[in-house]
């Protein structure tokens, strides 16, 4: 989850109310964020990914100040008309079709503010912007730009400029291979014949979105006061939200917001649009979901605590909120404003009959029969490695692999249980024998199911002792089947993990349900063990189906 670093002093000024530390901690966590750490004058908070409007100090303070009743209700942000234009050419349609733009003037940028703006931009890129795929943001010193600004797509070889923090001028194609940001985001322009660019009226390149700004026209310094902001991507609504989040945060830094006219061919759109949107709220539904009995004016108050206004059965949603999809999202905010700690728990008086899954009952019966024979239950991972599953077992099974597992020792799904038990035995050589263990767990093979993978629940038993032999493991099998009142037969078979002539398949009602045998000394040695081992692997899923 993204974190925001807050400067305590600045933050308190923005919130407009000072709270004692423990109260502040409590309010932050009950607002729906997490206090990570407090380091001197710095407060670090975690923000949930559905609230990109809170990932700046300004946005966070705005939400908290409403929540603690310092400044409730909808915030008004003035947008002045600038008469500046951005001309969007149709060539961007196939590359990155939309942009939403604004100008913010009169900000006193110091080092700290520059860092804040860059961090806000980065966090929006990563989260809401899905690593720049959905939204890429450019912020430029406005005084270096000659309007109108053009957004178009050009042949990458013809785009020549000096990218941010790069020593020399290179072309669009070279950026993707030479500039670090180019390499990181190259995949977003992969296969595109033309690259999108923002270019000013002096033909100076401002940036190649979503990759990099120009060093000359795309770098904010302490001399900057006015900035041009653009968000580019594929969904105009999403870009608007991102832009609104940025400009309102900058306005809270005492900036003045100016609109721009976007010319999409003949269509003219003005951004940013900071008018609140309206959503109908069903009060009865609200009370029903929350289990409360709130009156309309109470709901209004709660909404104001979350930065909304309420008029004529409608909720006015601030233009920077990107998470409101349905009235249920507003109902959650009402619950948060009401305080989760204030909900009285209730167990409703409804009658339902509890019922355990029959197979779970079956599995437990088996487990208790085995513990009655003094066997210890083990529990291993479902993920394993080929080394364990096949090589050490002197076996060759077709297995299912996962993509790019972080741990290479655990990158395939197990196909049988005995290797897990062998691993357990090999890690416990220093303890007393006999070591008689079992495990009930899932194994995976290819099969005709929705996923193409069939899962079986299997029982594995291993007896490891100097006196372990076929009779002893067969006695366990025999006991289990007698207790389950099942007839079984054993037929000779071959299995490369077992000693030839001492391994069998167990058959119940014409169904092969188990392997049983003495583990081959080769396998025992592969696992670095020196004790005789006998083993049994029983397919409980199949067995359960037959009875």
């Amino acid at each position: 989850m993204p974190t925001v670093n807050l400067n305590k002093k600045e933050f308190e000024k923005l919130v407009g109310k000072k709270l004692p530390l423990d109260k502040l901690k409590d309010r932050i966590s009950m607002l729906g964020t997490d206090l990570e750490d407090i380091k001197g004058n710095e407060i670090i908070v975690e923000v949930f990914p559905d609230r990109p409007d809170m990932i700046s100090e300004q946005g966070f303070a705005r939400a908290l100040s409403s929540f603690i009743d310092a400044k409730t209700g909808l915030r008004e942000y003035k947008v002045k008309k600038s008469n500046e234009k951005v001309i969007i050419e149709s060539s961007v349609k196939d590359v990155r079709p939309y942009t939403a733009c604004a100008i913010v003037k009169g900000i006193k940028f110091d080092n700290e503010k520059i860092i804040q703006v860059i961090q806000m931009q980065e966090k929006l890129h990563v989260g809401y912007g899905r690593n720049r795929k959905k939204v890429a943001i450019g912020i430029y010193p406005f005084e270096k730009i000659k309007t109108p600004i053009y957004y178009k797509a050009l042949d990458p070889e013809k785009i020549k400029f000096r990218p941010l923090e790069f020593p020399r001028e290179i072309n669009g194609r070279q950026i993707l291979s030479q500039h670090p940001a180019g390499r990181e985001y190259a995949h977003l322009l992969e296969g595109k014949k033309k690259f999108p660019v923002f270019i000013d009226s002096d033909n100076k390149v401002l940036s190649v979105p979503p990759i990099i700004n120009s060093h000359e026209t795309g770098k904010i310094t302490e001399q900057t006061t006015d900035v041009f902001i653009e968000c580019s991507g594929f969904d105009f609504e999403v870009l608007n939200k991102a832009l609104n989040i940025l400009v309102t945060a900058l306005a809270d830094m005492n900036g003045e917001i100016f609109s721009m006219e976007l010319n999409y061919g003949n269509k003219k759109i003005t951004t940013p649009d900071l008018r609140s949107s309206m959503i109908n709220l069903d009060l009865k539904y609200t009370n029903k979901i929350l289990g409360l009995n709130l009156k309309e004016n109470e709901i209004k108050k709660l909404l104001e605590k979350m930065g909304y206004d309420y008029k004529n059965k409608k909720v006015l949603v601030p233009a920077y909120r990107a998470d409101i999809m349905h009235q249920i999202d507003i109902i959650e905010d009402i619950a948060i404003a009401y305080g989760y700690e204030n909900f009285q728990e209730e167990i409703p008086n409804i009658s339902t009959i509890g019922q355990e899954d029959e197979f779970e009952i079956f599995k437990r019966r088996i487990a208790y029969l085995l513990t009655g024979l003094d066997l210890l239950e083990a529990s291993n991972y479902h993920l394993t490695g080929e080394e364990f599953l096949n090589k050490k077992m002197n076996f060759n099974s077709d297995f299912i692999k996962v993509k790019k597992a972080v741990n290479n020792d655990f990158n395939i799904l197990r196909t049988w249980i005995i290797p897990s038990l062998m691993k357990t035995l090999s890690e416990n050589k220093h303890y007393d024998y006999p070591q008689n263990i079992f495990e009930i767990g899932e194994v995976f093979t290819k099969g005709k199911t929705e996923t193409g993978i069939k899962e079986y629940c299997r029982l594995g038993v291993t007896l490891c002792d100097k006196e372990a032999n076929f009779t002893k493991i067969k006695q366990i099998l025999d006991y289990l089947f007698r207790m389950l009142n099942l007839e079984y037969t054993i037929e000779d078979t071959e299995h490369s993990s077992f000693i030839p002539g001492r391994v069998g398949r167990v058959i119940v009602k014409n169904q092969k349900v188990a392997y049983i045998g003495e583990v081959s000394p080769k396998v025992i040695t592969n696992w670095d063990l020196t004790m005789p081992i006998v083993a049994l692997e029983l397919n409980l899923s199949d067995l359960f189906d037959t009875i």
């Binding site: 959650e332 619950a335 024979l373 210890l376 995976f444 996923t451 193409g452």
Partner: protein
């Protein structure tokens, strides 16, 4: 109970107390004279009266010494009688004819019972080394040297005749010269008169070797001389530190050793003793029932499974039905049906295990798929905006190892018949995340899932069910904070309070499923309470396990020793 009665004897009144006791098959009345006037402290007198007439218990009849004698093991019985005369270990071994270990064991037991005291001293004992053993048999090299000198011989000749090695030759030469037993004549060695005398008697060293082993601290002056001389020579003698045990009879021991210990006592009760029907004539040796016994380990369920079974039982008690399902799922069920957008970070490979082969599975029937697609793209027509992106069915086909048990809830919702409502379901199972393993992260973990599908369900019910569950799990206090999940709204984070550590433990999420989840699966917007907190933290806490990896380490010692789940 005793009773008080006034008796008139010859016209005078006397107070008596009576009590009836059973004596075999007869009854007997016992009386106590109280005086002419009834005493005031009658209750106290009653109590004392009862004490007086009460039959003494069997234990009281047998004195402690007899009890002690009856508790002696056969080994102790053999050892104890010889201890009065013999105080040292080898003497005791010799007298009793027992093995050293047996004697040691008996002494240990006797000492435990305060019958004897075993004093342990360290003693430096001199014994024969390899060369010493040889010389004791063959004689010291200097003696062999002298014996060879029947005539004047060169050193080489002596070496051969006396069969000495170079070392032995050199040392003999030195020794004999010092004792003036030889002289040199023209590079040949000749025995002196002194030498001839020496030949006739045993040297101090030779006498010393014969006496070994000896205690260094108890050497006579002559022995000391020989010891110092031999110590300097190669591997003739060696000294070892030896623990010497000296037995002292305690007061109790003195008393016992004079008693007859020979009584036949029964050791193990055998079928023969029982069937011969003469056991009542025998005395059973008294056992020390307080003694520690070797540990045994029974068969046992894995401790995590014990905990999961316990949790399962709680849901059953609360009227929930169990749901189960596959571990490998399509992204459709794991994500799309739960309204998780296809570009959400959880759907990237660094978080989730995707299957390489078969990479993709089948989608459900088209009707359901279209409903889900519409929810993602534009919110259908349920008053939602949806996620606003083109939904891709190929992305939904990708197989994953389930990241949460919530996938079971989605599948259950799709199966429920509306006529069955209200329904409550729970699930417990493994979930997977592609994560680096360390003490607080594992790629496999357990969740307990639950849904309540009820027309009248609300947020307070959700809190009610969860509080009840965790109370039964041993956490009387739970709190709920706002949280975020793509598929619930409102969403909550569950914390339980740890009464011992006095801190909150974060367990995971809960909420009410969004209409975007419920409507396509169930066909109607009915409140569905849902939760899926992790359970491993609770298991770790209960078993005081600090490292998550220890849950599935399968260390046999841990599995043998770990206590049973008993909340």
């Amino acid at each position: 109970m005793p009773y008080v009665k006034k008796l008139k004897i010859k016209g005078k009144e006397y107070w008596y107390m009576f009590h009836t006791v059973r004596d075999g098959s007869k009854f007997r009345k016992i009386s106590k004279y109280l005086g002419k006037i009834l005493p005031e402290n009658i209750e106290q007198i009653k109590e004392n009266f009862l004490k007086e007439i009460k039959k003494p218990k069997i234990e009281d009849k047998i004195d402690n010494t007899t009890k002690l004698i009856e508790s002696l093991t056969p080994l102790e019985r053999k050892v104890l009688p010889v201890l009065k005369e013999n105080k040292e270990l080898n003497e005791i071994i010799e007298k009793t004819g027992l093995q050293e270990v047996e004697v040691m064991r008996a002494l240990q037991w006797l000492e435990n019972k305060n019958i004897i005291n075993v004093k342990k001293d360290l003693q430096e004992v001199i014994s024969l080394d390899n060369n010493g053993k040889k010389y004791l048999k063959e004689g010291l090299p200097e003696r062999k040297f002298l014996q060879s000198l029947t005539s004047e011989l060169s050193l080489g000749e002596i070496k051969n005749k006396a069969n000495l090695n170079d070392d032995e030759l050199t040392i003999s030469l030195g020794q004999l010269k010092k004792k003036a037993a030889i002289t040199f004549v023209d590079k040949k060695v000749k025995i002196t008169e002194q030498g001839k005398k020496l030949l006739k008697k045993e040297s101090l060293e030779e006498q010393f070797l014969k006496k070994l082993p000896l205690d260094v601290s108890k050497l006579e002056p002559e022995e000391k001389f020989a010891y110092e001389s031999l110590k300097k020579r190669k591997r003739i003698i060696k000294t070892n530190l030896i623990k010497i045990r000296t037995v002292k009879l305690e007061k109790l021991g003195e008393e016992l050793s004079s008693k007859n210990l020979k009584t036949e006592l029964v050791e193990s009760l055998t079928p023969e003793i029982i069937s011969k029907n003469n056991w009542d004539k025998k005395t059973f040796r008294r056992y020390d029932i307080k003694i520690n016994v070797p540990k045994i380990y029974g068969g046992k369920r894995h401790f995590v499974n014990q905990a999961l079974d316990y949790a399962r039982n709680i849901w059953l008690e609360m009227g929930f039905k169990e749901m189960t399902g596959s571990i490998v799922q399509t992204s459709f069920w794991n994500f799309d049906a739960l309204y998780t957008p296809q570009d959400h970070s959880v759907r990237e490979m660094q978080d989730t295990f995707f299957i390489e082969n078969p990479e993709k599975g089948q989608l459900p029937k088209k009707e359901l798929m279209d409903r889900i697609k519409r929810m993602h793209e534009n919110g259908g027509s349920i008053g939602s905006t949806g996620w606003r992106y083109p939904w891709n069915s190929e992305e939904a086909r990708k197989n994953v190892i389930r990241t949460h048990t919530t996938v079971l809830s989605a599948q259950t919702l799709a199966e429920i018949k509306k006529t069955e409502l209200p329904v409550k379901f729970f699930g417990i199972g493994k979930c997977f995340r592609n994560e680096t393993v360390d003490w607080s992260h594992l790629f496999e973990f357990n969740q307990t899932e639950g849904i309540v599908v009820d027309e009248d369900a609300n947020l307070r019910h959700l809190i009610g069910y969860l509080k009840q569950f965790f109370k039964k799990m041993g956490f009387p206090e739970a709190r709920f904070r706002p949280a975020y999940f793509p598929y619930t709204e409102p969403s909550l984070e569950i914390d339980v309070y740890h009464p011992v550590h006095k801190k909150w433990i974060e367990l995971g999420g809960a909420g009410i499923f969004r209409p975007e989840v419920v409507i396509p699966l169930l066909g109607k917007d009915i409140p569905v309470l849902a939760w899926g907190p992790g359970i491993d933290r609770i298991v770790m806490d209960y078993y005081k396990i600090k490292d998550l990896r220890m849950l599935y380490k399968n260390d046999i010692k841990q599995l043998r020793e770990i206590k049973t789940w008993w909340k």
